[in-house]
């Protein structure tokens, strides 16, 4: 058994790449070793800004020998066959064995691959790993052609066992592996040699390098907390920043400073963002005032003046940065208090998308849509419209220009400072949400209206111009917008027809359609038809209908709405197309919540499938139902009934739908099923009316025993045609009752 230590020493590796690089190094090397026939007990990967390190313990000294026998041609086969066999095995004729095989003599090749020394394998695997390392971005340097994240300076590759430690002979682009490394850039004292991993860690620490990033993180966090605690303050936790800072230093030395009095009036997020983004500072809060009043910076070195110069320098940079922020804040407040007109005006000249006009055009569309959505989500229409108009005003503010990640949040502060209603301020902050599957969903009705309108407008706009996501390409984040809209609806239990909202979203775009339709230019037909995704002839038909429609001149007509909600069977049109996209996203979303694809399909097949809240309720109930024993058994009963019925209907060319009469029942099982169906119907109807799917399905579950008993006792296709028809009509009742809840034919199993 041996231990392996690898260190790839380079110029500074970007902090954000280190975690993945550690994992990649570990998996590439260990997989390579295992594939080559070695085994190992454990492996650990480490990184600092200047090194990637792998330690493998309990490595076998050599790979197992492999013996392979291959049967070749008969000895009396044509010469070409033998030549081919020799070529494929790489042997010569006298190395082959001749053996008796049944009736003939046959050549056999015995290929012995002896075990290979670990060092040989390591050298190969390490070189291949270095040459093919999956850095997100890599570079060449000097005269070389090797690629690495930044210039690779040295390779340490040491294999140690009871006999001692040996350098694994290896050279990549002129860099020969050795047993030396160096410590901290400023605090270390030149190169030193190491004997193995434990020795390496100890000597690195002596040379002011903490190898393990987790240890550096812990030291930073502990040090920062101690500094803050001593001053009666507390550090604001930020794990992302902690990991990044740990990737920027080999010898972390936290230092704490105070933010100048002049800047304490800035919103805490501004202070935090400025300090984090520009300076990688942690924010320090004063629990007595609740304000951010200090910072912790993490130096990479110890100095004779205990960091005083470093802290002073950092403080100076921070003051310059915060002076800028304060200047922005004060200027922005002036504009906000004057009604934000300057920003709204400015948004007219900011292009949102060249086919969808300016940000101001977009805001106008969102505001109109938010008005329509407001009553559906319990918001005041005027307030929703006002909020939508102002929600994106902060995009023109100087602060958001500097810190784009503060969009929305600044809008909230500015709306409050301008004395606007709190609902308007919150909508500015929250209307971008939710941004992902785990992001918080707004609940304030005005925020919900604006957020929903924002997302629907994005979707209808890009859909209208046929800018749809394809494969992995989704440049306008339309999948995210659809997921956001869905979560807004579902989490808030909003009851609405999504298709109607989508059509509202198309309304302003319809103006363009109307222009195209009314246009004298016949040549526009083709283009407009293409845009709508319909054949030119269909488009011309619409045009003549619209031309006859007197209401056209007086604003958006119902006719146009109908135009988009019309079902052109298999002809895609923007409205239904977008709804299908929503359904696809919903499937992905629900699948993540453990609801199977086929269950969702069974619910999607029901009417009202653009009411997502209802759809989800139904799917959840069905999923729960199918998890019960009654549920799975009833599903079988339903399928059996449906199959028998479908076959009979296909054979007889009629539909068995009504007229099942208990008086033709011959057996108790049949009569019991009649009774059970009556009882189930009586219970299911009111439950469905109340949209209580769970209750409906519980009632449905009562059908399981009588249905099973029926199938056990009764031959459906009886000799007597009257009895047969009666039984088929009875099966129809099972099908009808079950199908009223969901389309169970779509469910697997």
């Amino acid at each position: 058994m041996a231990d392996l230590l690898i260190e790839l020493f380079s110029e500074e590796i970007p902090a954000r790449m280190q975690a993945k690089a550690r994992e990649d190094l570990k998996s590439l090397i260990t997989n390579g070793l295992v594939e080559a026939g070695l085994t190992y007990a454990s492996a650990g990967a480490f990184s600092t800004p200047r090194r990637l390190v792998l330690s493998v313990e309990g490595l076998t000294a050599e790979s197992k020998p492999v013996r392979e026998e291959r049967k070749g041609p008969r000895t009396d086969a044509p010469a070409a066959a033998l030549e081919g066999f020799l070529r494929s095995t790489g042997l010569s004729k006298d190395q082959l064995e001749v053996r008796d095989d049944k009736k003939a003599q046959v050549y056999f090749a015995v290929i012995e691959k002896p075990g290979r020394a670990a060092a040989t394998i390591i050298a190969e695997v390490l070189e291949a790993t270095i040459r093919n390392f999956p850095w997100p971005k890599s570079m060449r340097w000097g005269n070389g052609s090797l690629r690495w994240v930044r210039p690779l300076q040295s390779i340490l590759c040491l294999l140690s066992d009871e006999a001692g430690a040996h350098v694994v002979p290896l050279s990549v682009d002129g860099i020969a592996a050795g047993n030396t490394t160096e410590g901290h850039r400023f605090l270390g004292a030149g190169r030193f040699s190491v004997q193995g991993f434990d020795d390496y860690v100890v000597k690195l620490k002596r040379a002011s390098v903490v190898l393990d990033s987790a240890e550096r993180e812990a030291a930073i966090w502990q040090g920062a907390q101690n500094l803050a605690f001593a001053a009666g303050m507390e550090v604001v936790p930020d794990n992302g920043l902690l990991a990044e800072v740990a990737g920027l230093v080999e010898w972390p030395v936290p230092l704490m400073g105070r933010i100048g009095e002049a800047f304490l009036g800035l919103p805490p997020e501004v202070l935090q963002t400025s300090m984090k983004e520009h300076q990688k500072f942690f924010s320090v809060k004063n629990p007595k005032t609740g304000r951010i009043e200090g910072f912790v910076t993490v130096a990479n070195t110890e100095t004779a003046d205990h960091g005083e110069t470093i802290l002073k320098g950092n403080q100076k940079v921070l003051s310059a940065r915060l002076s800028d922020a304060k200047f922005f804040w004060e200027n922005d407040l002036r504009v906000a208090k004057a009604g934000m007109e300057e920003w709204l005006d400015g948004l007219k000249s900011v292009t949102f998308h060249n086919k969808l006009g300016s940000q101001a055009d977009r805001i106008a569309r969102i505001a109109a849509l938010a008005r329509e959505i407001a009553p559906l989500v319990g918001a005041d229409a005027d307030l929703a419209e006002q909020a939508a108009k102002l929600a994106k005003a902060d995009l023109r503010s100087a602060m958001v220009g500097e810190f784009p990640e503060l969009q929305g949040l600044m809008g909230m502060y500015y709306a409050r400072e301008a004395g606007l209603p709190e609902a308007v301020a919150l909508a500015a902050r929250d209307h971008y949400s939710p941004l992902g599957p785990t992001d918080t969903v707004p609940t304030e009705p005005v925020s919900v209206a604006v957020a929903l309108a924002d997302k629907i407008d994005t979707l209808t706009g890009f859909w209208w111009h046929n800018e749809k996501p394809t494969g992995s390409k989704d440049p306008f984040a339309l999948r995210r917008a659809a997921l956001g809209a869905m979560r807004l609806i579902i989490d808030n239990s909003v009851r609405c027809s999504l298709l109607e909202i989508i059509l509202e979203g198309y309304e302003p775009l319809d103006l363009k359609l109307r222009w195209e339709i009314e246009s004298e230019e016949r040549t526009a037909d083709k283009e407009a038809a293409e845009r709508l995704g319909v054949p030119e002839s269909v488009f011309q038909e619409w045009r003549s209908k619209l031309a006859a429609d007197k209401r056209l001149k007086s604003g958006p007509s119902d006719f146009e709405k109908r135009l988009f909600s019309m079902d052109f069977s298999n002809v895609p049109h923007p409205g239904s197309n977008l709804l299908a996209f929503f359904h696809d996203r919903l499937k992905v979303f629900l699948k993540d919540q453990g609801i199977r694809h086929d269950i969702i399909d069974a619910c999607l097949a029901m009417p009202g499938n653009d009411d997502l809240t209802l759809l989800v309720k139904r799917a959840e109930a069905l999923a729960a139902f199918l998890k019960t024993e009654d549920g799975t058994n009833l599903l079988q009963g339903f399928k059996r009934a449906n199959n028998i019925l479908s076959q009979a209907e296909a054979k007889d060319g009629v539909e068995y739908s009504y007229g099942a009469d208990p008086k033709f029942a011959e057996t108790d099982a049949e009569r019991a099923l009649f009774t059970a169906l009556d009882a189930a119907e009586a219970a299911i109807q009111p439950a469905m009316k109340a949209e209580d799917f769970a209750a409906a399905m519980a009632a449905m579950a009562q059908l399981r025993a009588p249905t099973d008993a029926f199938f056990n006792a009764v031959q459906v296709n009886a000799e007597n045609p009257i009895i047969r028809r009666n039984r088929l009509n009875l099966l129809h009742r099972i099908r009808a009752i079950c199908s009223g809840v969901a389309d169970l034919t779509k469910v697997d199993g």
Binding site: E11, E12, P14, A15, R16, P49, K137, S138, M139, R140, W141, G142, N143, G144, V149, R150, P151, Q153, R185, F186, L248, Q279, T297, A299, N300, T301, T303, A304, D305, G307, T309, I310, K312, G313, N314, K316, V317, L318, A320, S349, V350, T351, N354
Partner: protein, 314 residues
């Protein structure tokens, strides 16, 4: 490591120390390029000479103009005209980071007191069709230099790779000299018979150029000049390589590149005058980049830009 030298006392002393330091490292100390450029990278000693395989080492001060950064001399650290110190070495030596740290020591930054960090910053110049990987160098949290390994310039792969160092001189000097407002920075020795501050020399010009850049420049004329420079660059590159008068192959790569520099600066001025919309912006940048690429193509055909013949035993 040698002991840190005495602290410099003026802006010009910092420049002189950098000049001496890089001269001692074997760089040719060049003079600024005699045209208006946005950054030291535009100097043909960097842009063009980073192409081809011939070794190169140069250092120089480059006055740089960023018309949109004008603040009438009032902002403590924003100027529309400022100085960059540029070092370019091809192929990049393996100890370039150490050489760079040596230059910081030369201007009085004591590594025993300060915190120097190399923080990821990838460099890209869309107008030059160039990019590289490297860092911004922090001294106590302040960005004092840009450090880049060129990967591509003018659309050409850099083989070998050049190492480029860019120091923002005013900011660096203000930090070293402990000055809070750039205009208060001593330009020459404060003990000289006639001590001059940065403001004595540049406050008035910052005012004048700020007004010029934001309000004075004639946009119609700038647009014409842009078109002229673009046309002239292409015209110069359209000449047959063989010069009938001398019978030599003379490709006018540098004169054509001058026109690219002009077009780039004119674009910056137009941008400052606020007459270029967001959508047009990309188109203008693309036009300048197309010129830069053509100049790079042309330079690669010249003697200075060609690949040296491979060594026999290489």
């Amino acid at each position: 490591m040698v002991d840190a030298p005495k602290a410099p006392r003026s802006f010009q002393e910092i420049i002189l120390r950098l000049q001496n330091y890089w001269a001692a490292q074997g760089c040719a100390v060049l003079q600024p390029y005699d045209m208006e450029v946005g950054a030291g990278t535009f100097h043909p000693a960097t842009t063009l000479r980073s192409l081809g395989s011939k070794p190169w080492a140069a250092a120089y001060v480059q006055p740089s103009r960023r018309p949109t950064d004008g603040r009438y001399g009032e902002n403590p650290n924003r100027l529309q005209h400022y100085y960059q110190y540029q070092v370019i070495i091809k192929p990049s030596p393996s100890n370039l980071q150490d050489l760079y740290l040596g230059s910081l020591q030369a201007i009085g930054i004591d590594m025993g007191l300060h915190d120097i960090r190399f923080v990821e910053d990838d460099w890209e110049s869309p107008t030059l069709g160039a990019w590289g990987l490297g860092w911004e160098v922090w001294c106590d949290g302040m960005e004092v230099s840009q450090f880049t390994y060129f990967q591509q310039v003018g659309g050409h792969d850099c083989r070998p790779v050049s190492g480029e160092l860019t120091y923002g001189l005013e900011r660096l000097a203000m930090y070293v000299l402990g000055v809070d407002h750039v205009m208060d920075m001593p330009f020459n020795d404060p003990a000289a018979p006639i001590p001059l501050t940065y403001g004595d020399i540049f406050r008035q010009t910052e005012e004048e150029y700020s007004r010029h850049n934001f309000d004075g420049a004639d946009t119609a004329q700038l647009l014409r000049h842009f078109e002229d420079a673009e046309a002239e660059c292409q015209r110069l590159l359209g000449f047959a390589p063989l010069d009938p008068k001398t019978g030599k192959t003379i490709i006018m790569a540098h004169p054509a590149y001058d026109q690219t520099i002009k077009a780039s600066h004119l674009f910056n001025l137009l941008d400052a005058r606020g007459v270029i919309s967001v959508t047009e912006r990309q188109a203008y940048i693309g036009r300048v980049r197309a010129l830069a690429k053509k100049c790079a193509d042309a330079f690669r055909q010249t003697e200075a830009g060609q690949d040296a013949p491979a060594e026999a035993n290489a």
